[in-house]
Amino acid sequence: MSGFEATADAATWRFTVNGDQVEVVAPGMRRLLDVLREELALTGTKEGCGEGECGACTVLIDGAPVDSCLVPVCQVDGARIATVEGLAEPSPEGLVLDSLQQAFLEAGGAQCGICTPGMLMAARAYLDNGGGADEGAIREAIAGNLCRCTGYTKIVEAIAIAAGGRR
């Protein structure tokens, strides 16, 4: 709920979300988080604090993990957005989890699940940038994503597994 929402004139913004071209008519200062959740019905991205502290709303903008609650939609015009909905592969039998999601599922990296989409996106960016199974590097990569359930132990383990290593 951007404070500018009421007064700013709506405009048309074009960008891709999970590979699909989208066109959104919205005030330029509307939060990307709200555009994703309310205009595009992609509710996988969560709001935890609305001030960039918790990372629950993390999405990738051109591959970089960003808190979507702090990004006005005008800033993503022409950008590539990736959200949690784009991780699993559709198949005739349903969605197939990617290796990171599968590792979270098996290692116990998701409990209540509310931080999970943001955590997965931060981890995805880490892995896509060549991140390995080193515990310190993994912790650094997800330091902007708060989790209150797991103590992070099994999240770090899951990311290490997805990175191809063992802990």
Partner: protein, 824 residues
């Protein structure tokens, strides 16, 4: 939705066994009174709702779409204590498009139904405002922009009244208990060391990452359905029936996927639901009441602050002979669950130690601050912190190792607690202590850290230089703590709840579990099918979970008190046994798994409702506070290793070993997850989590200012699951959720002491408190040196007192009406 999991990867170490892999879930066999350590077990089935959570398909309250829904908001008090004289609506705004709800619109009792009837749903005009975030008026509008303008167009008129902020000074007592055993005076007469100490702990926020959220939808029958983030559907159901004058059917509560609770969604969701429902009834529309983080932090319940005072007698060889304990908890403005929190706090205040002569006096009082309530541990973390630091100080004074003093006093089979409860079974204090100490190599590490401390020049008493040398920028320490946690409801609570859990064999031969127990991350939806499938000889995927909707499921009691796996899980096993027996009997004795389809075809659906029956040999007298306070206790030990930065006073918790006895491990990965998560919450409590108040208002009511540990702050946590089964339930499980929360903070404080030689009495052990304890910041004037402290308790050790009375670094009485505050 169907979600397939990808093919097994070669990189996965020991791929967890999954349902559908062919064989039935692990049969649960309780070994005969055997305490089993270790963690080499099958991993258990995958988290049932895991794929939905991992793909973003899971629907939390704010993800639910109700066409035409309005948005709701709460106008709150900005006074801590005042008379509500009225409110004005700015006539410049068109109010015809806005729903305005006041106390007058409440059709039933203006009471949030819980233990006491003191908390209104909305303060009526002319009524008394008791805290800073108290709800006065509700608004709803079709869009957020209109709602925002409406909020700014309401002016509240109040007349200030004198507030009370100090729980020690408050004369409004919500509850008090006195528990005595033996002869206190005789005990102290035998004591060769008498140790006194006062410990203070403050508020802690649950900080589930999903804020409180509720959506109310008017029903055609005049009732309301609420969909929301919650732990206890039937608490809300009861509150709705009473305040909205609805029948059982008209009040419907449906749990959405819930993003964490930790006690924070035990009671407050009743208020959110009532507010949303009142607006929905007024507007005739669905109303979304979704709190943002600021509102959630400012208005909802926290862990009770407490002041705990100990006077303890020991013999020279470290045997506990007398405990005189006073506990004062700050209830905040309304009673909420305070009497039960206080009760659990009092019952755990002596720690897991045998003592013949005990007096525990506990009271909880009212202050004009937002009400405090349930949070993982429920009173025990506050009092067990005090008990454990006291035990550590005694070990130091008596020159006994912290392990040995615990070994000498810890509860063993046959010991009696201060309420007269004889521990006949399921006692694992020694086991968890030894396992944790062994895994952490406690004695070897402690020998090294204390040698390093002794070598360190200028050990803490030269102002300005403290322990810091050019070589040592940090000091390392290791600390141990031991705790216990009563499993399930306190006293006769479970008998009064009389919970029901149901099981159904439907007409297609599938099994359906019907309970009000909620999933909020801890694994209810995974372990219930696992328990039932094991009992029936089926695969986990043959067992469904009914949604937590009061129109469908019975009242299985609240999802609190670490009772779900133990109590409700036990009911389900009993139900499964009855179902199995009935079906097998009427099908010629064939195995349930083989005959269930034929049975369903022949007999149609079969449903078993299993109601709680009192556990054998468990008796408690609420009036005298004598008897079995809990059917059994879980036991936990924690060893923490810390580094203290000698320049900044910051504490880094590097490693933790947690050994927790949970009776019976149902699902190792989920169980470890509970221990790891609870341990980190305890470390946050110990080191960084603190709420500052000014005039009864939380100053740091945003996530930018109330901080919790990140992945970089979190230690490596090594979990050891120990099994000392409880025979009162068929599977032996005792509950796990709260146990690790009780033991982490005192372990960290003991480790800090090991590093720097000073005890921190007040949580959190913030850099400010550490620096003051090191003598770097004020209050060093009368600081006795560690050597002097030792001397005062050395010879003759009859009158030891708090060795560092001036080391208290927080001069405020737990809260600060005149707290200067911190820069924000």
């Amino acid at each position: 939705m169907t979600i397939r999991t990808s093919p097994s990867r070669t990189t996965t170490p020991a791929r967890p066994r999954r349902s559908g892999d062919g064989d039935a879930a692990d049969a649960l066999v309780v070994p005969d009174g055997v305490v089993m350590p270790g963690r080499a077990r099958p991993a258990g089935p995958l988290r049932r709702e895991g794929p939905a959570k991992l793909t973003g398909e899971a629907k939390y309250a704010d993800d639910l779409v109700f066409p035409g829904a309005w948005y709701g908001a709460t106008i709150r008090s900005t006074d801590a204590h005042a008379r509500f004289d009225g409110f004005d609506l700015d006539p410049a705004l068109d109010w015809s498009k806005i729903a305005v709800v006041t106390a007058q619109d409440i059709p039933g009792d203006n009471v949030v139904s819980l233990i006491s009837d003191d908390q209104p749903v909305l303060v009526p005009v002319g009524g008394e405002i008791q805290h800073h975030a108290e709800p006065l008026v509700l608004l709803a509008a079709a869009d957020r922009d209109t709602l925002r303008r409406a909020r700014h167009a309401v002016t509240v008129r109040t007349t200030a009244l004198a507030p009370v902020f100090d729980p020690l000074a408050s004369d409004h007592v919500f509850a008090h208990y006195e528990i005595t055993a033996g002869d206190l005076e005789a005990g102290f007469a035998d004591a060769e060391l008498v140790l006194e100490g006062t410990y203070r702990v403050g508020h802690q926020e649950q900080l589930y990452i999903e804020n409180n959220a509720m959506i109310a939808v008017p029903r055609e029958d005049g009732g309301v359905a609420v969909h929301g983030s919650l732990q206890c559907p039937y608490y809300i159901h009861k509150a709705m029936k009473r305040s909205l004058r609805l029948t059982d059917a008209q009040a419907q509560v449906i749990q959405a996927e819930t993003g964490g609770g930790f006690g924070g969604k035990e009671e407050y969701p009743s208020i959110v639901a009532l507010h949303a429902a009142l607006l929905a009834l007024k507007a005739g529309k669905p109303v979304r009441m979704i709190y943002d983080r600021h509102e959630d932090l400012a208005a909802t319940t926290k862990r009770h602050p407490a002041v705990v005072t100990h006077r303890t007698g020991f013999t020279r060889d470290g045997m506990l002979v007398a405990q005189d304990i006073e506990v004062v908890m700050d209830g905040g403005a309304y009673c909420t669950l305070t009497p039960v929190v206080l009760s659990r706090g009092a019952l755990h205040s002596g720690g897991p130690y045998r003592c013949a002569n005990v007096r525990i006096r506990a009271r909880a009082t009212r202050t004009n601050t937002p009400p405090n309530g349930a949070f993982r541990g429920f009173g025990a973390p506050q009092t067990e912190f005090a008990a454990e630091v006291q035990m550590g100080r005694a070990a130091e004074a008596l020159k006994i190792s912290p392990l040995d003093i615990r070994r000498r006093n810890l509860y063993r089979l046959g010991d009696e607690t201060p309420t007269g409860q004889v521990l006949h079974e399921s006692v694992a204090a020694e086991e968890v202590l030894e396992r944790a100490a062994e895994a952490a190599e406690f004695e070897g590490v402690a020998a090294r850290t204390s040698a390093a401390r002794a070598r360190r020049p200028g050990s803490g008493h030269v102002p300005g230089s403290a322990l810091r040398t050019s070589r040592d920028r940090t000091a390392s320490g290791i600390g141990v703590a031991l705790a216990f946690h009563g499993a399930g409801f306190t006293g006769s609570g479970e008998v009064k709840l009389a919970s029901v859990a149901s099981l159904e064999l439907d007409d297609t031969g599938r099994i359906r579990i019907l309970t009000g127990s909620t999933e909020m991350g801890q694994g209810t939806k995974t372990i219930f099918p696992q328990l039932v499938a094991a009992e029936l000889g089926l695969a986990v995927d043959d067992v469904d979970m009914a949604p937590q909707d009061t129109a469908l499921v019975p009242d299985s009691g609240p999802t609190v008190a670490s009772r779900t796996a133990m109590v409700v899980g036990g009911l389900l096993i009993q139900a499964a046994r009855r179902l199995k027996a009935r079906v097998e009997e009427r099908n010629g004795g064939g195995a349930f798994a083989d005959v269930r389809l034929a049975d369903a075809a022949a007999y149609g659906p079969t449903r078993i409702d299993q109601q709680f029956e009192p556990y054998p040999h468990v008796h408690f007298d609420d009036a005298t506070y004598r008897g079995d306070a809990y059917p059994a206790f879980g036991w936990a030990a924690c060893v923490a290793s810390v580094d203290v930065d000698l320049d900044s006073g910051e504490v880094t918790v590097r490693d933790v070993v947690a050994a927790d006895d949970v009776g019976k491990v149902i699902h190792p990965i989920l169980a470890e997850g509970q221990v790891e998560g609870g341990t980190l919450q305890a470390i946050g409590y110990a080191t960084i989590e603190e709420i500052k108040l000014r005039d009864g208002r939380y100053l740091n009511d945003r996530l930018a200012t109330y901080i919790i540990p990140t992945a970089l702050d979190a230690p490596r946590i090594h979990t050891i699951l120990v099994e000392a089964p409880y025979g009162g339930v068929p599977h032996g499980a005792k509950g796990i959720g709260e146990l690790p929360m009780d033991v982490g903070a005192p372990a960290v404080v003991a480790a800090i002491h090991d590093a720097i030689g000073a005890w921190i009495h007040d949580l959190p052990a913030s850099p400010e408190r550490i620096l003051a304890a090191l003598g770097i910041t004020p209050s060093v004037d009368q600081e006795p040196s560690p050597a002097e402290v030792d001397a005062t308790v050395e010879s003759p050790i009859t009158a030891g007192t708090d060795p560092r009375p001036d080391a208290r670094t927080d001069p405020q009485v737990m809260r600060g009406p005149r707290d200067p505050g911190e820069p924000r």
